[in-house]
Subunit: 432 residues, 2 copies
């Protein structure tokens, strides 16, 4: 076996064997296959695809490239959730406490934000004192006692993914379903949970622009999870508009806390309840979605999920008293963006608002950028709302020198029309 024959097999559209896939991952990680050969193979995979067997073989080979987390010391059902990323996506901060309050164990590894999509680690680290750098022993201990813990990705897990992603990023091979699916799932598998819920976004603010592409990615990931013995399901949800009202790290933590008190925006609350209910079904707590959703909603309304959230933040060193001081949230510029005409909101575009939030300081364009936890955007209206000229569409928060074009960018993300708005059928789509 050699890398040239593997490249030629894939370029011919052949199905790679388990041994071939293991060979190229092992030898790329050990440095004996150079970048230029892997780049050629990645392009062949992008253009010729991989079937379900190859994709799960690739995932497993990537998992084997590094350490895995052993969650067996934790009693109960270990669950994990993963979002493909969106604008205003603070779902883990609510779903985690919800499922932990039902007795499940959420052992989650999260990433930092990059580009227009935020990251759970940044949102958590916006709370004074909080650390996501736990040892594996601390992580397991906290999941045992609190019911949940969220840590940053460690370098020891799936080193193949870090190497491959860096190469894909500079060789035009990012957009490939088997490569995206194996990248995400290798980290989920290495993290050790028994059941995995994938929150797959579609729309202009998401990695997958169409619902069709999102379905294909979700199917590939669910198939990998099943092939590797994990109960894996995917929930498809809309990312054409921001999720909830808040974009930006501390703004989103506040919205998550409000949601845990039953005071969150409808769209975000619905997604959290749906996701938590599906995880509860996966864990075997319920068999009917309606019953599961009622139980989850009760955990919100009773305050039990909020109690878990407070314990979780405290356990990781976070100081909610300090977080709740108004002075912590000061920004130099608070700029309301007003409607210049009257009408009905037909769309609030996620992508331009996500990119604007980065400009305001809330995100990173490169890994070296420093985040301003207070920067961001709060929407005042969502699709279907009626506005009069002069009403506030959203408010921008920044510590950067004001840039005049930001106002236009923000306003143009809101599409006003005179005609009536009909909400799309917004049921979540489940892939299992």
């Amino acid at each position: 076996m050699n890398i040239l024959s593997i490249i030629e097999h894939k370029a011919n559209g052949d199905i790679l064997t388990h041994e071939e896939i293991r060979y190229f991952i092992d030898h790329y990680v050990d440095g004996s296959i150079p970048d230029y050969q892997m780049a050629s193979l990645l392009m062949a995979i992008k253009l010729k695809g991989m079937n379900a067997q190859e994709t799960s073989d690739l995932t497993l080979a990537m998992v084997h490239s590094g350490e895995t987390i052993d969650l067996s010391a934790i009693e109960g059902v270990k669950v994990d959730k993963h979002s493909t990323g969106g604008v205003g996506d603070k779902t883990s901060l609510v779903v985690g406490p919800l499922v932990a309050s039902l007795g499940l164990k959420l052992a989650k590894m999260s990433g930092k934000g990059l580009g227009h999509t935020g990251g759970t680690i940044d949102k958590l680290e916006s709370i004074p004192g909080l650390t996501t750098a736990l040892t594996q022993a601390q992580f397991i201990q906290q999941v045992q006692t609190v019911g949940m813990a969220i840590i940053g990705q460690t370098k020891a897990l799936v080193p193949a993914d870090k190497l491959l992603y860096a190469l894909r990023d500079v060789t035009g091979t990012v957009q490939s379903i088997p490569l995206i699916a194996s990248s995400i799932m290798s980290k989920k598998i290495a993290s050790g949970a028994q059941t995995i819920l994938l929150d797959v976004k579609y729309g202009n603010g998401a990695f997958m622009k169409t619902i069709e592409d999102a379905k294909v990615l979700a199917r590939a990931m669910v198939d990998i999870g099943k092939a590797l013995g994990r109960d894996t399901r995917a929930l498809l949800s809309d990312m054409n508009q921001p999720l909830g009202l808040a974009i930006g790290n501390r703004l989103e933590v506040k919205e998550a806390m409000a949601t845990l008190k039953g005071q969150g925006p409808d769209d975000f609350t619905q997604l959290c309840v749906e996701a938590a209910a599906v995880i509860a079904i996966q864990a075997g707590l319920y068999s009917d979605l309606t019953v599961a959703k009622a139980a989850v909603t009760n955990q919100l309304q009773s305050g039990r999920a909020l109690t878990i959230f407070n314990q979780f933040i405290h356990a990781q060193g976070g100081d909610l008293n300090a977080f709740n001081q108004p002075s912590l949230h000061h920004v130099d510029v608070v700029k309301p963006i007003l409607a210049t005409s009257s009408g009905i909101i037909h769309a609030v575009e996620a992508l331009p608002l996500g990119l604007l939030s980065v400009d305001l300081g809330a995100g990173r364009l490169t890994k070296a950028d420093v985040i301003d936890f207070n920067a961001g955007i709060v929407l005042h209206v969502k699709p279907g709302d009626t506005v009069q000229k002069g009403d506030t569409l959203c408010t921008l928060y920044t510590n950067k020198p004001w840039v005049a074009s930001w106002e236009t960018t923000a306003r143009e993300a809101f599409h006003l029309q005179k005609k009536a708005y009909h909400a799309p059928h917004d049921a979540f789509i489940m892939i299992e």
Copy 2:
């Protein structure tokens, strides 16, 4: 413009612009595009193809990466021929003198052999004293006075091709019509001739295994030549069996000299006459192929082509007296391979005999290998011949320690059957 967007365009199946193609060639040659990005792009080109415009743009961009030869000082029609390579292919040694004897000017740059296909430079350098390392001034002077000169490839011409070929060789991207066609044609265009005849081989001993693939390659190369203002035609010929009877450098030079005396094997003589006649038509000497072939045959029979050959060898320092000394051709082992049964020869496979000739010392597996000019194979029979058990099928010549399996390999290249042999329709196919 940047390399990532170019990779993505080609991966999407888009047609690359002239500017994009010029950009990636220029920046690969200057080192600012790394191998891994070029490897990804090459695989995208292999799998998505290039149209005729892109392929000629690529060829021209490659030509511009280095120097070009200016043949304008030479009076008359400057012609060139190129073979895609085969087993026993010594055509240039006969076609060159034939067309020069008609008053045309053959200014040819040739390669060394690699693998089972030989190279014209090696065959020429098997003549004592001969050099193919002429200066450009010497080259032009000799074409003027003798009518032909053949030199080795210079590093200054088409450096992009050397870089790209080395990368294609290790990234599974050799087999791509636009990449093969632009590689060959960039060197032909940079060499400066007005008319180009491509001798495109198909069959087990050739780079293109089927006549269909050979037609596609020939069409791509002819289209490039035309797009870049050169009268370019291609002659497709069979390489399922070795061309002529001799394989190996000095053995082939002797066969070429015999052919120039009208004593060559039929198949090789026919190809040389056909090729020279087509070049004569391209140069405007004749308009009818039958008339042209009669004129070319006359140059053979009159000895005029042989005179040119002698002048050409002499001009490049070759000593034909020394070459004609029997002692120069001594080998330690001369091994006749005998038929073990009687029958009619239905096939003589080129590929195993080409590979065997390399084992005997006549060729290179890597560029560092040293050639034994005397090693090789002479066929005693060709398809259609009847043999009795004990007749000699071929003779092997080597200075290496004898390997028992060579006898079997040689014998099994000859396919004997009891039934009558019907020669395939062997007219040459012209692509223009």
